[in-house]
């Protein structure tokens, strides 16, 4: 990676909702940078805020405070009209392949829409461009006159990816895009995403709960817990020597295919709700290495090799 200015800069982003009398702190102070051609994975369990963060970046959720900049332009806190020029740069691919495509549009119509909307094609050559897009994602262009219900989940995800690529974005947000797919199909989609990234120098913000996928596709990983990033590392460093106790517990919990007898016990307790985050360090109720300070004080992100970790042990 060159040290060019980051493509995406997120600073102290917070997304809070009011719900049933309490404040849900879904995203509570997130900083991150993403460079061109890089894949940053956002991992975490329920309530960690990864999906909320992605949706806030594209403007589907309102932001409570903080900022995000894309190529130097602020993209948060904009009106619909002001955000429109950035719709091109930042696209989101969703998890559910069955709800992501308009059932009444043919594939050609679905793909033509972004092309025409953003002047990537004229009425005369839009069909040719649609064929090009389909080939790019590994689908037969002959299929473009068909309707979504005739395609499998994996194929629909390819079409959703094609639609996102149509506007030639610099950053693609992938929100659990392979979670609803079978393992063998997931592998196809991951390969596709990797090859497209290389060809187009795309950046990905890749949201997932599956750490195996993370290791395969991400350059860097941000582990989230109850609205905050608790560890941000280069992928291999995270897996080889996780710094934060939560990351360690997460890695230890994953069922492995080749495994000798475990001597570990699973992480106890429930994942806290972002409406009632624990005091001090949010992980302290479940942490096996907790001490007094953890209950009262809230740790910052401290530098560790190849990244940072939000734990007093790393201070």
């Amino acid at each position: 990676m060159t040290d060019s200015a980051p493509l995406l800069k997120v600073r102290d982003l917070r997304v809070h909702f009011a719900s049933e009398g309490t404040v849900v702190r879904a995203v509570d102070g997130v900083d991150l940078d993403l460079r061109a051609g890089e894949t940053l994975a956002l991992v975490g369990e329920s309530g960690c805020g990864k999906s909320t963060l992605a949706r806030a970046l594209v403007g589907l959720n309102p932001i409570t405070s903080g900022s995000a900049e894309l190529k130097g332009h602020t993209i948060t806190g904009l009106t619909r009209a002001a955000a429109r020029p950035f719709r091109r740069e930042l696209q989101l691919v969703f998890q559910d392949p069955y709800a992501s495509l308009n059932p009444r549009f043919t594939i050609a119509q679905t793909l033509a829409e972004p092309l025409l909307l953003h002047d990537k094609a004229s009425r005369r050559n839009v069909d040719a461009k649609v064929c090009e897009l389909l080939s790019q994602v590994g689908l037969d262009p002959e299929l473009r006159a068909r309707y979504p219900h005739e395609f499998s989940g994996g194929q629909r995800q390819r079409i959703s990816i094609a639609r996102a690529l149509a506007v030639e974005p610099s950053l693609l947000l992938c929100d659990e895009v392979t979670s609803a797919l079978d393992v063998s199909i997931q592998a196809q989609i991951l390969d596709l995403l990797r090859s497209v990234q290389q060809k187009l120098n795309l950046s990905y913000l890749f949201i997932t709960h599956d750490l195996g996928v993370v290791r395969y596709i991400a350059h860097r990983v941000a582990v989230m817990y109850v609205g905050q990033i608790v560890e941000l590392r280069d992928t291999e460093s995270l897996f080889e020597s996780p710094a934060h106790p939560y990351t360690q517990a997460l890695l230890a919990s994953i069922p492995r295919v080749s495994r000798d007898e475990r001597a570990r016990t699973p992480l106890a307790g429930e994942v806290p709700s972002p409406a009632r985050p624990p005091s001090g360090c949010r992980f302290h109720p479940r942490c096996s290495r907790v001490f007094d300070r953890c209950v009262k004080e809230h740790p910052d992100l401290y530098p560790v090799p190849a990244g940072s970790s939000r734990c007093f042990l790393n201070q």
Binding site: E45, A187, Q188, R256
Partner: protein
């Protein structure tokens, strides 16, 4: 392992389930045969559409809900379940054979408190009511790791996913079933909670010497909990072996391909991923002229198109449905 003389708990022979719609017939399960021994955990593995869920629903006669046509034999101990009367099946369900499902939210009645749901099972099968029932409920809840009176009064929506699944497990175990069918019970849970639930199932299984039929698509989970694994593809068994053997030296190209297309957490870079090309087959009623996996198989050869291979023994308890010589498996593909 107990010698062959022991009586198997569940004996399935030539089970076929066909769904008939106006457009076509779909053979979801095709002449399936396997056994489950008492105290054994058997994994049923495959991707969507392979027929594993349909198989599990058929055991308890729940296939009627899916309007399927079922033939074959499902024998629980002495009793034949297929074609049994409704009252016979009701006596078995929740009692000798229990089931837990993927989504704990929809498995529990949102309008009933926990104590009412547990109470229903105790009333129906054990004729237990009042204080005796209550004692049993508290006992079972503490066995599944959620002790305390206050849980009994709770409604499902007040509980987390992990807790709901524990309640479902508690309900399933109230009558000390001989067989627990678990259909993807941890798929919708967070990773750390999944680890807790798997641990719980493992310890309960050992304590009670209960058999489990564990349905999943996740080979990692299989490794954690199953003694033996059955791999399904297009409604048929393609391989069967003890867990460690299957995962370390698979003898069917599909099992092999499945392992190679799963990203690895414990290998740098996630390992090299080899997707399986193409799509799963469309299941129809017609007899296959070739091996169902042949179109996508990296080891396919001439003979694969000459009719479906038989399921043959591969030494010990191992079974495989493939004509590729065992000596070739495990080597690099052409």
């Amino acid at each position: 392992m107990t010698p062959n003389v022991s009586r198997e708990l569940l004996r399935i022979r030539e089970l076929s389930v066909t769904f008939v719609t106006r457009e076509r017939s779909v053979r979801a399960v095709d002449r399936l045969s396997f056994d489950i021994q008492p105290g054994e955990v058997v994994g049923l593995v495959g991707e969507s559409g392979c027929g594993k869920s349909v198989t599990s629903l058929s055991i308890l006669g729940l296939h009627e809900k899916l309007t399927g046509r079922v033939t074959g034999s499902i024998r629980l101990g002495e009793r034949e379940l297929l074609g049994a009367s409704a009252s016979e099946l009701r006596a078995v369900r929740g009692n000798r054979v229990s089931m837990i499902f993927q989504d704990p939210l929809t498995s529990l009645n949102p309008y009933l408190r926990v104590e009412e749901q547990l109470g229903e099972v105790l009333d129906l099968h054990l004729n237990l009511r009042g204080p005796a029932a209550r004692t049993r409920m508290l006992e079972i809840l503490s066995q599944v790791g959620i002790p305390g009176e206050e849980r009994l009064r709770a409604y499902p929506h007040q509980l987390s996913g992990g807790m709901r699944q524990r309640i479902c497990i508690a309900m399933a175990l109230l009558c000390n079933p001989e067989l627990l069918i678990a259909d993807e019970p941890t798929t919708m849970l967070d990773v750390t909670i999944q680890a807790q639930i798997l641990e719980l199932l493992r310890s309960l299984q050992k304590q009670r010497n209960m058999s489990i039929l564990f349905i999943t698509h996740d080979l990692g989970v299989v490794s954690e909990i199953c003694d033996r694994v059955i791999v399904m593809y297009a409604g048929r068994i393609v391989e069967q072996a003890r867990t460690a053997e299957l995962l370390h030296s698979p003898l069917h190209p599909y099992t092999e391909a499945l392992l190679r297309s799963t990203p690895r957490v414990d290998v740098p870079g996630g390992g090299s991923l080899h997707p399986i090309g193409g799509l799963p087959p469309r299941l129809s009623e017609k007899k296959l002229e070739e091996c169902a996996f042949a179109p996508r198989c990296p080891r396919a050869r001439e003979g694969c198109r000459n009719g479906e291979p038989e399921l043959v023994s591969a030494g010990g308890e191992r079974l495989r449905r493939c004509i590729v010589p065992i000596s070739e498996m495990g080597s690099a593909r052409s």
